[in-house]
Symmetry: C2
Subunit: 448 residues, 2 copies
């Protein structure tokens, strides 16, 4: 790999402007920000966020950055860590349609925290955010989407979130090509995260760590720190360690023409995205046929390779394991007819005897040809009747994107318990109008 | 890998006590601490440390932890980052004889910072330090030393320093097996660093980042955070992502009986350790034969695979590249007859025309069978005379360890310019007597 990939990407990321971004790209950028801000608010008071914030007491600075939904100011690095952690702690954030990466959390948390410490317009924040997401998604695609030959073992967001945060922060700091390349290199050199942590709090900590180290990388680069000029393509570099055979065209092809944010998707359900088509099918069957869960003998699921690899977990013990248990959500759908945050509460849902018992009637089988947004569910009743539903593309997938209105419902469900109805309504309007904001930090302050 | 490796290691690390450590192990622990404390002081005022400390201004807490040699207190996490960065910024730290890991920096910086915030005896600090180093070195051996089949591309200290810091900090916090295992898991999930960064400030930032995240992992575990119970051996776990075929016996065999710190080595020269035998040979030839550098026509070096892979860099442009340039140090040896920190100063050494010109007369050739602490140097004079020196084991290698007195000289060379002669002398005595200290934090305060 002799081509100067890192340099080319840094040149693009430092030079691109708001006026270079097509309308559809700006629009999806706003939708992504809207969705992730709601997720930050929704996760802000999660006990796992409390643990981190409390454990680090006394180790943060006083500052203008907002801990969203927690009613306190702090320094930018801590805000990036905590807000990103909150954004992903319910696995309710966004997902790139092809690469298994949740792009917005690390990028937005870093950019917003920085935007509170200096005058940054809504346009500037949106531009920086879109560019950060662009590089993050391109890199994750290059590692994992065929023809790339990568490994399922790495956490895509963990290892590519840092470059996204660094690019967004670097853009807001006005870094030139050279310092942007340095920022990217520093962030890449700290890329981390693997999937053995699924079902533990380390999973949302990975994007949080990426956000914080990416932001720090931009600050260090601005201050004169150094890194390799070939962090991606160099010998013993990022691409060589994280991928057997990267797809370089996915990384550098059509820069400024093809935009990955157009492939971003938002989740209607707060769990592993590969479970979503299963939930769609289960809710559809229950509603259409008025099924009584107590009369269901068994549920057969033909699941995608992704669902089987990540979520084939019967009998989760707590909320985080329930996140990634297709058995849990299948039980929730048939018994409760819902799939909300409160449906994975450890005490009232995960340990609900009815839900636990139902899981033993759920069996998942690998369907190797099935896409990640697809599932087939076959219900057999105790009287022998059978019902089948096949979902080709789940709600929230790229083929069936969530509407703005659906996003507002999701936002409100998460925000109203934290900020109340009036502030939530005002924040929704402010967020849709982000391009018009003269001071983008207002978004964070309104969500304090 | 069904064996509960992470659990076994956590059980050992949480239960071991000072009385379990043989005298020789304690002694080498003291020597390792002595050496790394000197390195922290020596690097404390490096411009690269200034960059990080300045860039993070306002993003740290007020606290009792000392920024060694910088005359300021800060919070424990920032102290771990900055002190570890200082310890490795001149590549003057320690190295395990087999695994390419520099164990003490991440572990000591984390443990010392924590020891300043609560009452910790010298015995307790020494015990925690030795255990942290033990797990870090075992893990790095398991990844890289045959029969393991690992990759040269990862930074050994970057990816294993975190578990070392987490274990040391966790031991000081009194974590039990379960929380220690959690701390290890969190730290492992954030392991990062690859070697493309050689010659840039990202190289010393990797251990610094490991120290900080390892310390943070212990604090989070204490606070109730969660991680996988099988972070090392689990599916998609640490061992699977960082190594093709790990050597599990190196990781878990003889716990409490075999101690890796006994294989720790200290550097007489502030550069990549694989260059050291070359320096020994060059200094020996110059001194023994009274060689005049201006009459040297060429220098042939038969170098180890490690030296060729990491340090075959002609014409470095700055101090950090000079660190890992065998051509630079060969020129320094023959022209100056020394190999000190000031011999890699960018302005007065790296850009010294005489040194730059001499490098063109240096050629290195791979000797595939040669060990990393070995080199052969052949000097040809302009009049045709030839001189040869072969070093089987360089000074500072495990076979020719530095004496306590040599360590004191190294310490004094680094400390006197920062702390002055009297404080340096007092600190040396205090450090050798660490086992007797009732409050180990005194060490840091004495080096403020």
């Amino acid at each position: 790999m002799s081509h100067a990939i890192t340099t080319d990407l840094a040149a693009y990321a430092s030079a691109a402007r708001f006026s270079d971004l097509p309308d559809a790209v700006r629009r999806e950028g706003v939708r992504s920000i809207f969705n992730i801000l709601g997720c930050i608010i929704g996760g802000a008071r999660h006990p796992g966020v409390d643990v981190v914030d409390n454990a680090l007491q006394g180790m943060t600075g006083e500052g203008k950055a907002t801990l969203i939904g927690r009613g306190r100011g702090t320094d930018t690095l801590h805000a990036a860590l905590i807000n990103c952690l909150a954004s992903s702690i319910y696995s309710f954030d966004d997902t790139h349609e092809q690469a298994v990466v949740h792009p917005s959390g690390p990028v937005f948390a870093a950019a917003l925290a920085l935007a509170e410490t200096r005058p940054v317009s809504g346009e500037a924040l949106l531009t920086a955010f879109i560019l950060g997401v662009e590089l993050e998604c391109r890199l994750c695609k290059a590692l994992t989407v065929p023809p790339a030959k990568g490994s399922m073992a790495w956490s895509g967001t963990g290892i590519t979130g840092g470059i996204g945060a660094a690019v967004a922060a670097g853009h807001l700091l006005g870094l030139n090509m050279t310092t942007m390349r340095t920022a990217m290199g520093i962030a890449l050199s700290q890329a981390a995260g693997f999937r053995a942590m699924h079902g533990s709090l380390c999973t949302p900590l990975m994007p949080a760590q990426a956000s914080q180290t990416g932001l720090r990388a931009a600050l260090l680069a601005q201050g004169g720190f150094t890194s390799s000029a070939a962090a991606l393509e160099g010998r013993y570099g990022f691409l060589s360690v994280f991928c057997e055979q990267p797809d370089l065209d996915a990384l550098t092809g059509g820069l400024g023409e093809r935009f990955e944010i157009l492939r971003n998707t938002y989740k209607p359900y707060p769990c592993g995205i590969v479970i979503h088509p299963i939930i769609d099918a289960c809710l559809h069957l229950r509603s259409k046929h008025g099924l009584d869960a107590t009369r269901i003998a068994s549920v057969e699921i033909l699941a995608s390779p992704g669902a089987m690899a990540l979520c084939n977990n019967r009998d989760p013990r707590d909320e985080l394991q329930a996140h990634v248990s297709l058995h849990h959500w299948t039980a929730v759908c048939f018994i409760r007819g819902t799939a909300r945050i409160q449906d994975m509460d450890t005490e009232t849902a995960v340990k609900d005897p009815a839900l636990m018992a139902f899981q033993n009637r759920v069996n998942a089988t690998l369907d190797p040809t099935r896409g990640a947004d697809s599932a087939k569910v076959i219900v057999t009743m105790t009287d022998g009747r059978r019902y089948t539903c096949e979902i080709e593309h789940g709600i929230g997938s790229a083929s069936r994107p969530m509407t703005d209105q659906e996003l507002e419902v999701k936002f409100s469900d998460m925000s109203i318990p934290v900020l109340g109805g009036n502030r939530t309504r005002a924040l929704i309007d402010q967020c849709w109008g982000i391009e018009k904001l003269s001071n983008a930090g207002d978004l964070a302050r309104a969500a304090r």
